[in-house]
Symmetry: C2
Subunit: 396 residues, 2 copies
């Protein structure tokens, strides 16, 4: 069992070292606003538990040189980010730096048992590679709504077989460490907040466009999950009352119009319709591989294929329409666009920005940056590790 | 100058007495989790300032009888709620009970100077009536976005002449007390939270449907205002890309389709079109008064006029469509529907509920009550008084 901090001040010290890295005792104490004697007592206790270690002497600030303290370099966290078609697993240290990162294709519809067999295999590979001989905690992201306090997925439309699966208990037993589970989008937001484009932003939205579409909502620096953990579930907001039927049973949901699955469907339809799409880059790609994905649309757009560009423009406008509503409602300080489909690049961002800046009121958009995520697939695993360190670095 | 609490514990005591009413010293100290000696020191200091007074002896809990303490019955707060076509002004005591309440028709488009002349006249009437000889603070609600820290309205589409008007300074000088300004919808949410249907609910949405439409967003018991104070500004969320032109310059905004102004317009059009509307209750009302308002639509619906019922059903569905999106995004514990148009009654509520329960995911709607506001026009003035007591009952 990993030691835990004894009180809130010790937890505060651990989190500061996680987020800001090694620091001199003198500077750290000052930055936390603790009295010198109080701070010394707490750090000494943390040194005894082994959670914190001394790491040489810091540069002098004029007087006696202060010891540098840091989180134990022995601490290891596992970040797991499950997507619809792939899973990312990474080992981090206590500062949430990735030491090793594996990605593997899966089909999440094979169910949780098969999926977590892959995850455990990957964790075993990571330990065999020598970057970890144990885990002090693991965070897991799942592409659907999660009942957060209990740590299991709930009735996820694209996850048959996952409803109520006790991820925390199942994986915790196998890994021998505490496990926390959250929606993949919340973890992406946490990752971008820890090490990416949202660092130091208090209120922001992180829209993840993958196979489906979701949104991480951060209020006052903390992920807002709502009453039952489903906050940010924007994939089923209606964009067109007469639109495509959706897997959820409704019509015209955002996810039915844009996202990886919708893009692949629309690209195939455009090529097969015999119109302009039947002669361009998309048609060539279909001839080669026998199918089309969102990545093909991105690649085709990059070489100027007009059908691909139009698909991105239309879909991006529909995402932008939904985001415009959220910006009016939430008045965030930043909107981050992430997920695999951001490979679509600048065309997507332009379509989104155009809608938001046109549709939302000036007071809400005056200082509103809308930017692409920075960390790519690292955001989810870093966010997952951050989630579980939030627990491990809390009083027991 | 009204005395202010000296520290956070004293502020906590004042707010508990405001929200829960008079209490015995013993019970109050227990409920706040303060040590007996600490609590005694703080209450004694508050008694010295006059903010708190003794009010007889409480019923014995077994030992020596404890004094009852309460907020000074001399404290007076002014709650001002400015709507597009009327203004409400009320005097409350420190427990935010309304002692006197005046309503007066205005046209907010006459500008802030004319509007606040009305407000000051009404305040003078209230003092002349003997319910107050001074004010310890005033809260003001304005029907548009407010830059909250600075206390002035910003570029409100329906408020020409109000942009940047220094409400706090202007009114504070005339009333001789501290003034705070907020969006009217936020104050309605605060009012319903203090004394209405949202009492003890942490995360809820309060949708106000008056001439326009707005939404108060409460997160963890506190009004969420967003980066620049415009959070909850949902009147310009798009409900129909090919819909009515809106005063904001866009097309198909919620406010352009429903709310007092849109209902009156659509009712007139329906009667004048010569169809079914030209023979019913609405037509008779038009013949009598020469115009139609949202209240006429409500009255016509109440006697079964089919055109009025259809207007409410269609408009309510469009509000419901927007609220469904907000419920998916925000996963609240309660949705409150308020504002003058709630005179439309059960038909409106049914249309909204149908959309939300159909469109939002089960995880978000499973335990979600959607209810009408309880306090009517009292919500805004109570919320306004609550806003300013939040300031007055804080350390200086």
């Amino acid at each position: 069992m990993t030691a835990r901090p004894a009180n809130a001040h010790q937890a505060q010290i651990l989190r500061a070292l996680r987020d800001e890295g090694p620091n001199s005792r003198a500077q750290l104490g000052d930055s936390l606003g603790l009295s010198r004697s109080k701070f010394a007592v707490e750090v000494d206790q943390l040194l005894e538990t082994g959670l914190v270690v001394h790491d040489g002497l810091a540069v002098s600030r004029g007087g006696r040189r202060s010891h540098t303290v840091r989180l134990s370099p022995q601490l290891r966290f596992l970040g797991v980010d499950i997507g619809a078609t792939s899973v990312d697993v990474a080992v981090t240290n206590a500062e949430l730096e990735i030491l090793e990162h594996l990605t593997q294709p899966i089909d999440v519809r094979d169910g949780p048992v098969a999926t977590f067999e892959h995850v455990l295999d990957m964790a075993t590979k990571l330990t065999a590679a020598g970057v970890a001989d144990h885990f002090d905690g693991a965070g897991v992201g799942i592409p659907g709504p999660v009942r957060f306090p209990e740590g299991f997925p709930v009735a996820p439309p694209i996850l048959p077989g996952w409803d109520g699966f006790l991820v925390r208990e199942a994986l915790g037993q196998d890994l021998g460490c505490p496990v926390m589970v959250d929606n993949d989008v919340n973890l992406m937001a946490l990752g971008e907040q820890h090490a990416g484009v949202a660092k130091n932003v208090g209120d922001f939205l992180c829209v993840k466009i993958g196979t489906g579409i979701g949104c991480g909502v951060v209020v006052g620096g903390t992920v807002y999950r709502g009453l039952t953990g489903s906050a940010g579930d924007i994939g089923h907001i209606q964009v067109d009352p007469y639109g495509h039927p959706c897997a959820c049973g409704n019509r015209g949901c955002l996810e039915a119009h844009f996202g990886g699955a919708a893009l692949a469907r629309d690209a195939l339809a455009a090529v097969r319709s015999g119109g302009a799409g039947s002669a361009g880059e998309l048609a060539e790609r279909l001839a080669v591989s026998g199918t089309l994905t969102a990545a093909d649309v991105g690649a085709a757009a990059a070489v100027g294929d007009p059908v691909a560009l139009e698909l991105i423009r239309t879909g991006g406008s529909q995402v932008g329409q939904v985001i415009a509503g959220l910006v009016s409602f939430f008045n965030p300080g930043l909107v981050v666009i992430g997920g695999r489909v951001t490979g679509l690049g600048h065309g997507l961002l332009t379509a989104i920005r155009t809608q938001v800046y046109r549709r939302s009121l000036p007071l809400a958009t005056g200082n509103l940056p809308i930017v692409l995520a920075e960390l790519g697939p690292r955001a989810g695993v870093i966010g997952a590790a951050r989630l579980i360190t939030g627990r491990v670095f809390s009083p027991a």
